[in-house]
């Protein structure tokens, strides 16, 4: 922020910000929540169904193996949808319902890798692959480390 605003300009800006807030249309929260719940719920139900099918057709696999296979299948489907170009249409309606499950992470990486392919595999895709998911990865590592240390310390005490 620039520090050289006169009090008159600051008053004008505050007044304008209040006015803009009042006139700008806002998302309908109920509608958004409804859509994100059914799309998120549907995603998870499909994933559960895929897991159940694996369990039926490959009973020799362990539970962990089935969970991993299910995640991989869902990720593959999300990347396929991104490539075919209709994941963003689902996400526009689904919001958090589409980006909170693992599908959102897959979409963010796949879309970045497709987008920056034009600059080449190294300077484009490799450099920019984590441009959208970077914050998720960094914060995931940092906060899980913090949680791990906290748990250890509590255990010591």
């Amino acid at each position: 922020m620039s520090d050289n605003l006169s009090p008159k300009e600051e008053a004008r800006n505050t007044r304008y910000a209040e006015y803009v807030n009042a006139v700008s249309p806002q998302n309908n929260a109920r509608k958004s929540i409804f859509h994100s719940f059914w799309i998120g719920g549907l995603t998870c139900s499909i994933a559960q169904a895929v897991g159940d099918l694996y369990a039926i057709f490959m009973p020799q696999l362990s539970k962990d193996m089935i969970a991993s296979l299910t995640s991989m299948t869902i990720i593959a489907i999300a990347i396929l949808f991104t490539g075919l170009g209709f994941f963003d249409a689902i996400a526009r309606v689904g919001g958090a319902g589409s980006f909170l499950p693992i599908t959102g992470f897959a979409n963010a990486m796949a879309s970045a890798s497709m987008e920056f392919k034009t600059e080449g595999l190294i300077m484009g895709t490799s450099v920019k692959l984590f441009s959208v998911v970077g914050p998720v990865v960094v914060n995931g590592i940092v906060w899980s480390t913090v949680a791990g240390i906290a748990r250890y310390l509590i255990g010591v005490i």
Binding site: M1, S2, L5, E10, R12, N13, T14, Y16, A17, Y19, V20, V23, S24, P25, Q26, N27, S32, T82, G83, G85, F87, D88, I90, A91, R92, G94, G95, S98, F99, G104, N107, A108, A110, S111, A112, M114, E115, F116, T118, S131, V132
Partner: protein
Amino acid sequence: MSVTLVHKSETNCNFAKNSTTIPNNNLRQSGRQTMVFENQPKVIGKMSIVGQKEGKGPMGQYFDKVLTDDKQGEKCFENSEIRMLTDAVKGATASAKLQIKDVNLLLSGDLLNQITSSSYVARNLGIPYIGVYSACSTMTACLAMGAALVNSGYCQTVACSTASHFATAERQFRYPLEYGCQRPPYAQWTVTGAGCSILSSQGNGPRITMATIGKVIDFGTNDLNNMGAAMAPAAMDTMLALFKENSLSPADFDLIITGDLGKLGSDILRDLMREQGYGLGRNYIDCGNMMYYNEQNCYQGGSGAACSASVFNSYILDKMEKGEYSKVAYLATGALMSTQSCYQGETIPCISHAVVIER
């Protein structure tokens, strides 16, 4: 004190032949910001190109060319933008019944970093070139400068052009194209398109009579999605300067058009102008607001440099030639931030330049 500019080349901007002595006490300004062109440069050629989505909008039938594929078979969208802009400059030159070599100067700009699209177009066409960056108000910035150069006699023919592309702007300012994210309802949609006007001292066409150069206005908004609200005060400031310095009012114009304020931004501008004592009536329209139908999911409407450039070089100039409008004020608005400046906590500085076109 007087200044004489002399240039040796006969082929480019014809300084030697047309050099005039401009006395310093005879500034052709009617106030601090407005330039009045007594030689009245004419818009003798024009061309507008838009993408598929824009072609399906309400203005679709007016554009000279609608792309069937926004990538045009090129390997990246940037190349498609370059091709679109090249086609616009070539088409406008052809519509003025001129050849590319007859154009003395290309004034062009776009939204990409270092305005690469425009520079590559100038490289491909081989015209003397000045790159102009004024974000989405590039078209009026080019028209104002072009008109000043033609009016003063330093150039005979100037091409003013700009382009923007949804895919290239999206990648530079927001997220990858296929990334699934929700936009707030006050967001806008970057127009894929290009527009070019040919200004000349010779020939027939609508005349540019005045230009008001805007100041950078910042009312402290910092929401990158709410461009209409950020840019409306800039449009207000320039419009006020245009009206006050020339004793004009909205009623003096058949049409007042703003660039890409969108539905929300143009409503805000109406409110701001009402507060200043000027009522903008039915003769005020916004190009962004007219670009898409509601069901095209473009929220508040179009934005981007090509938004007003394509509408101006099709609908507006066509209607002026047919005689439906005889005096039009055209104010394109631009937001001059970068993605870095906003993440660094700066607010969005905005600008608007106005040109007045008369039949």
